[in-house]
């Protein structure tokens, strides 16, 4: 996944330009999209799958043989869509990344009025494979596990994760209200560090610079 283009500034005609929130940070909304796109890239090429029985994904999502999406999405129309791979990003826990381990402060540059902060984020993501029988759900879960094991190193280095590894694959379970559906889950734990730089100008905050480590997305808001 390549780095997004720099966010352009939007001038409102007044004294201060406006700019949207920087999207380079790995907030939950970004993580959901990231893992869904990752799963779709796993299943796009039929030659890369574990078995010829595995259906592949193709855009648009609602016309694909394999449905890959986030959980919590209300879908009207044809709601069966099996087999399916649903991505569920879990809680994100933050811990201080500061030098003293107390808070997020890394340091400061008084001359430039800048404060540097860092934090460590830990979380997990579950890939839930839904199918109409247990063997099929296990087949898809095994396929996803193969991809995660194979590309874990690449994902860690390319996307700056300190930790990205499969924690486990759980035995298939029948879904409570749908006796014909089975679910097999693959859980992945991840950890990454986020840094940001705040520029303060006395007496009021007039300038904010957010630098999250992606040089192409650094911008100033004044």
């Amino acid at each position: 996944m390549s780095a997004p283009a720099p966010i352009p500034e939007v001038w409102n005609g007044g004294d201060f330009p406006l700019a949207p929130v920087h999207t380079g940070r790995r907030t939950p909304i970004i993580l959901r999209s990231f893992f869904v796109e990752l799963a779709r890239q796993f299943y796009v090429d039929p030659a890369m799958q574990l078995s010829p029985l595995i259906k592949t994904w193709s855009a648009p999502n609602d016309k694909s043989h394999l449905w890959i999406d986030v959980t919590g999405r209300w879908v009207d129309g044809n709601v069966s869509r099996r087999p399916a791979l649903l991505v569920d990003v879990g809680d994100l826990q933050f811990s201080p990344g500061g030098v003293q381990g107390i808070d997020n402060r890394m340091g400061s540059n008084l001359a430039r009025g800048e404060v540097y902060q860092a934090r460590v984020a830990t979380g997990s993501v579950v890939f839930a494979h839904l199918a109409l029988n247990d063997a099929e759900s296990v087949l898809y879960a095994t396929n996803t596990l193969d991809f995660l094991d194979a590309y874990a190193y690449v994902i860690r280095t390319d996307f700056k994760f300190e930790r990205f590894q499969a924690r486990g694959i759980f035995k298939p379970s029948m879904r409570k209200d749908q006796p014909r559906e089975w679910e097999c889950r693959v859980q992945v734990d991840f950890q990454f560090q986020e840094t940001c730089q705040l520029k303060l100008e006395a007496p009021q905050l007039k300038q904010i610079t957010l630098d999250t480590g992606f040089p192409a997305q650094q911008f100033n808001m004044t």
Binding site: V79, R81, L132, N133, D177
Partner: protein, 246 residues
Amino acid sequence: MWTVNTAAAPAQPWSFVVQQSPTGVGTDTTWFDISPVLVNKHSYIEQIRKFNKDPNLFFRVRCVAGGKTYYSPVIDAYGELNRNEYILAKEMMRKRQLAFSRLEGVSIQIWKKMQRGVPCPRCLDPVTAEVRDSSCEVCAGTGWVVGFDGPYPGCAKFSTTATHKKFADNAEGVDDDRLHKVELLGFPRLIRDDVITECKSDRRYTVDIIERMVEIRRIPIIQFVMVHELSRDQIEHSLGHLAVAQ
């Protein structure tokens, strides 16, 4: 045991084979041999047999003699009627069928899920024989080539009992379960996973629970089943086209 009508007996030798079918009707593909070829023998005893609880035990004897093939009448293992009772049962079914067709029912087709046959060469696990593709084009997710036998035409009365569209567990997708109670004649007997097609709308339903059966000496006259409506992307919507493609 069986006997041959000697008045019109063909030339010897007579070869007999005992056959079984889950429906008692249909083409030769639904009948399978359960005995070896018995030459000039009129009985057969099976030594080892495992049955489930489904009342799908219809038998007949195929006789090959004089270059021709003959079939005995089909018998049911679970009950028998004398002539008066047979006529009574037939009249009850006729009247119920009339009510379905004239007043309260819709035309349907019944697809019986195969329980024996040629194992699917495409999607079965080679060790555990599990079906690994629930929408397999060869077996329709049943594990047996073709997958469903039929269609058997009929009439049925539908009663909607519950529709509930909601998030599934853990908000993993949306569940839209539509449950119906269906009343239809007692033949062919339905079991779980059989498919009913409503002819006019092409809605398809999978049988879940056999709720009740009206019987005379264990011969079903009317059956009441609970069915779930299938969504349009499931393989059962290809039945008919699938059978033709085979």
